[in-house]
């Protein structure tokens, strides 16, 4: 029990960092699902591309001779480039792989999404190779910077990741709750045809949703690179699965649900790693998913809509 308590704060820190990343990925899934009822399998790969864009920018601005810009500016440029790049990628995917299937059966769009995911993964493998790359976070924020909170160690890198993620989530919440675009998004999610009849340009809203969701995934990719440093072309698959699990646990289509689900999943995994074994963290996360779905089939914050004919 003492050991349990002694480890608790550190596992909390780990879980919250991991959860922040999951939550960002889950948001993209949830938003797209809310509007199109489409399971966007390529989302995890967009996240992977984001990590690689961040890596490219870092390599360009941080040669071995020393940084070209102040560290905070480099991180900012990495984030912005990755978010913009992934956003554009997301729009492209929507335009070419999902839009022609807008009125097709659900299965068709899903298979198309699998195809996109496969294509992106292998395109990255073809052009960039199959090896692991490592972010040189240490050259930006030395690992020695950090604070000891009780028994836990909160490094500056982890704090930064959490703060950035939370800021992005706050911005997204503001966007969805308070702006015209957000209102349009909520309207389209509720009923696309009715929204179109009242003058909402549904296609534009869908494009905006894809842009925002993919940009968040890109940010998550960069944060993953900064905190966990190792990236490779296949990272998107597992992360996408986790992101979707988080979205489902929270209640798919619900934005606060995605955040809640992400943090919940991150904490579950951190505790599973800390107290049981890192080998079984995915198994335990999966069991949590099944249990949540059995108790609340619509997720924690979601509700199953009764089907009307």
């Amino acid at each position: 029990m003492d050991l349990f308590l002694a480890q608790l704060p550190q596992q909390l820190v780990n879980g919250l960092t991991l959860g922040a990343v999951y939550a960002l990925i889950a948001l993209g899934y949830s938003m797209v699902y809310g509007i199109l009822q489409l399971l966007n399998f390529a989302h995890g790969d967009v996240y992977m591309v984001g990590a690689f864009i961040g890596f490219g920018v870092m390599t360009a601005l941080l040669p071995q001779t020393g940084p070209l810009l102040p560290a905070w500016l480099i991180i900012l440029v990495m984030m912005v480039t990755a978010m913009a790049g992934c956003g554009v990628l997301g729009i492209g995917i929507e335009w070419f792989a999902y839009r022609p299937l807008r009125n097709a059966p659900r299965l068709a769009a899903l298979i198309s999404a699998l195809g996109v995911s496969f294509f992106i993964q292998n395109a990255v493998q073809l052009t960039l190779g199959a090896k692991f790359r490592a972010y040189r976070t240490d050259a930006l924020i030395p690992a020695t910077i950090g604070w000891d909170v009780g028994t836990a160690r909160l490094s500056a890198v982890r704090l930064l990741a959490m703060v950035v993620a939370v800021l992005l989530m706050v911005a997204l919440t503001y966007l969805v709750r308070r702006t015209r675009l957000g209102r349009a998004m909520r309207a389209v999610a509720l009923d696309r045809e009715a929204a179109a009849m009242t003058g909402v340009d549904a296609d534009r809203v869908i494009v905006a949703t894809f842009f925002i969701g993919s940009a968040l995934a890109g940010a998550a990719g960069v944060l993953t690179g900064i905190v966990f440093t190792r990236i490779w072309h296949f990272m998107g698959f597992t992360a996408g699965l986790k992101g979707f699990t988080a979205a489902v646990v929270g209640g798919i289509g619900s934005i606060p649900g995605a955040m809640l689900g992400g943090f919940l999943l991150g904490l579950t995994e951190a505790f599973a790693t800390g107290y049981i074994s890192s080998t079984y963290k995915d198994v335990i996360a999966f069991i949590v998913l099944v249990i949540v779905l059995l108790v609340r089939p619509g997720g924690i914050l979601g509700a199953i809509q009764p089907q009307k004919v």
């Binding site: 097709a104 496969f118 294509f119 073809l126 079984y280 995915d282």
Partner: protein, 477 residues
């Protein structure tokens, strides 16, 4: 039987859509054959292959086709008949393989008789299918997909990590699955004192099992249950309202698919003599889905055609010269069928090749360092391509950049509304596509295979979601 209860107009949709003209004359005798005769022809042809070609590699590829075909048929029961998106299908296949392996290998020194282990594998897969299916079916639509996908991932993870399993009754960790090293030296299938040891033996074993499965599934599809599945797939709500036990039907499909996968997992393990976690990954899952969808969801012949085209054709990509022919001829075929009128086709081809000649002539004269000497190529096609294609010295890097660019160009061409713009954009696209093929894609056949698979899935969904032999839904609105 098929047409029972359908609207007259819908029932005749088939006849209306039949190929007419020259194609119709070729396909008509085939169409007139009863299904059993067509299938018998297939079995006879397949059985003749090892007799005619005494090449282990060819027979192995053939055996792979039969294996994939059978797996795709099982997946077709779940996805094509019942319309359930099961992304954990490969896990049942792996479970079958591992279970058989543990019951008939030196891993624990257990050597059950074949019939007992096969029976056990099938029953276990059925049970697992029911077990995984029953909670999943409470879930709506895509939730099923994610739970099953998670299940598939977990299977691979457990198979990889169960080589150091802590067990309560012993201090030593138990080596259950051999981890990444897998289970090796699995016994071959042994029936009536005959061991299926060689590649050809296993080929016939797979063929016989596949034939039984096809016959069984054909009859099942025509049965009450088959009709109920189709009704449920088309409209689950209406089916339920008509009093069909949808939950039970779904579970049945799920468990049947799992049993087929498990059975062939065992046959796979026995054939290869070893099983590794990497045999049962996502790549295989996507490949199987591509097979089922390419052939046409719900069509038995279609699924076999899909399995054939996605298991045998990619083998040909391994050979550079052969893959070159496939690529250029395939590309030409796509252009001929998709590009109308023929003036545009001619313009695009002349523009690409003629422009390529001129470009190469100019570059060779003014910047000779940019062009490498033509490589000795064995095939006439390779020499022909080198006449108009510039291959610079550091081709890998440029090839990578051009790859990204050519994807963008292709997307533009695919979505261009203006016919003129499309043809004009097509010329550099084709040129650069050939460039990327020669510098990158042909050199990385395994990646190229998967890339093409992804593209195939997208293109197929956009242009022909029902697959090659699938039936388009005919609806009266």
């Amino acid at each position: 039987m098929e047409k029972f209860g359908r609207d007259e107009w819908v029932a005749q949709a088939e006849a209306r859509r039949k190929a007419r003209g020259a194609l119709g004359r070729v396909t008509a005798p085939w169409e007139r054959l009863p299904p059993w005769a067509r299938f018998a022809l297939f079995v006879v042809l397949a059985a003749a292959v090892p007799q005619l070609i005494h090449n282990d590699y060819v027979i192995r590829v053939g055996g792979n086709f039969l294996l994939y075909g059978a797996l795709a048929l099982g997946l077709n029961v779940v996805v094509g008949y019942a319309g359930l998106l099961d992304l954990g299908y490969v896990a049942f296949y792996g479970m079958g393989g591992y279970t058989y392996a543990l019951l008939s290998s030196p891993q624990f020194g257990i050597h059950w008789p074949t019939w007992a282990s096969i029976l056990f594998v099938v029953v276990l897969s059925l049970g697992l299918g029911l077990l995984l299916g029953s909670p999943s079916l409470r879930l709506v639509g895509d939730y099923l997909a994610i739970v099953t996908l998670g299940f598939g991932q977990i299977f691979v993870q457990l198979a990889t990590s169960f080589d150091r399993l802590q067990v309560p009754w012993s201090d030593q960790p138990l080596n259950l699955t051999g981890g990444p090293n897998g289970v090796v030296n699995i016994d071959p299938i042994r029936l009536f004192d005959f061991a299926f040891k060689t590649v050809a033996h296993n080929y016939y074993l797979l063929l016989a099992t596949l034939a039984l499965i096809v016959i069984g599934l054909h009859h099942l599809n025509q049965s009450r249950v088959g009709r109920a599945w189709r009704a449920m797939r088309e409209d689950p709500l209406a089916a339920e309202a008509m009093g069909m036990p949808t939950k039970r039907l779904k579970l049945l499909a799920f468990a049947l698919g799992a049993a087929i996968a498990g059975l062939f997992g065992a046959l796979f393990g026995a054939w290869q003599g070893n099983v590794f976690p990497s045999n049962f990954g996502v790549t295989l899952l996507i490949l199987l889905y591509a097979m089922v969808i390419l052939g046409g969801l719900g069509s038995l012949a279609g699924v076999l055609i899909g399995a054939f085209s996605l298991s045998v054709v990619p083998e040909m990509l391994r050979e550079v010269e052969l893959s070159r022919y496939l690529f250029y001829l395939g590309g030409l075929l796509v252009l001929v069928t998709r590009l109308r009128p023929w003036r545009h086709l001619a313009a695009a081809l002349v523009g690409t090749i003629g422009g390529g000649y001129l470009l190469k002539l100019g570059v060779t004269n003014f910047w000779p360092t940019l062009v490498t000497a033509p490589q000795p190529s064995v095939s006439p096609l390779g020499r022909m391509v080198q006449n108009w294609l510039i291959i610079p010295p550091n081709a890998t890097l440029i090839g990578n950049l051009v790859f990204v660019f050519v994807v963008l160009l292709l997307l533009f061409v695919a979505r261009a509304q203006n016919a003129l713009a499309r043809v004009v954009a097509l010329i550099p696209t084709l040129y650069l596509l050939a460039f990327v093929w020669e510098t990158r894609l042909a050199l990385e056949p395994s990646i190229t295979r998967l890339l093409l698979l992804g593209v195939l899935l997208i293109v197929l969904m956009v242009y022909r979601p029902q697959g090659i032999l699938g039936q388009r839904r005919v609806e009266i609105v």
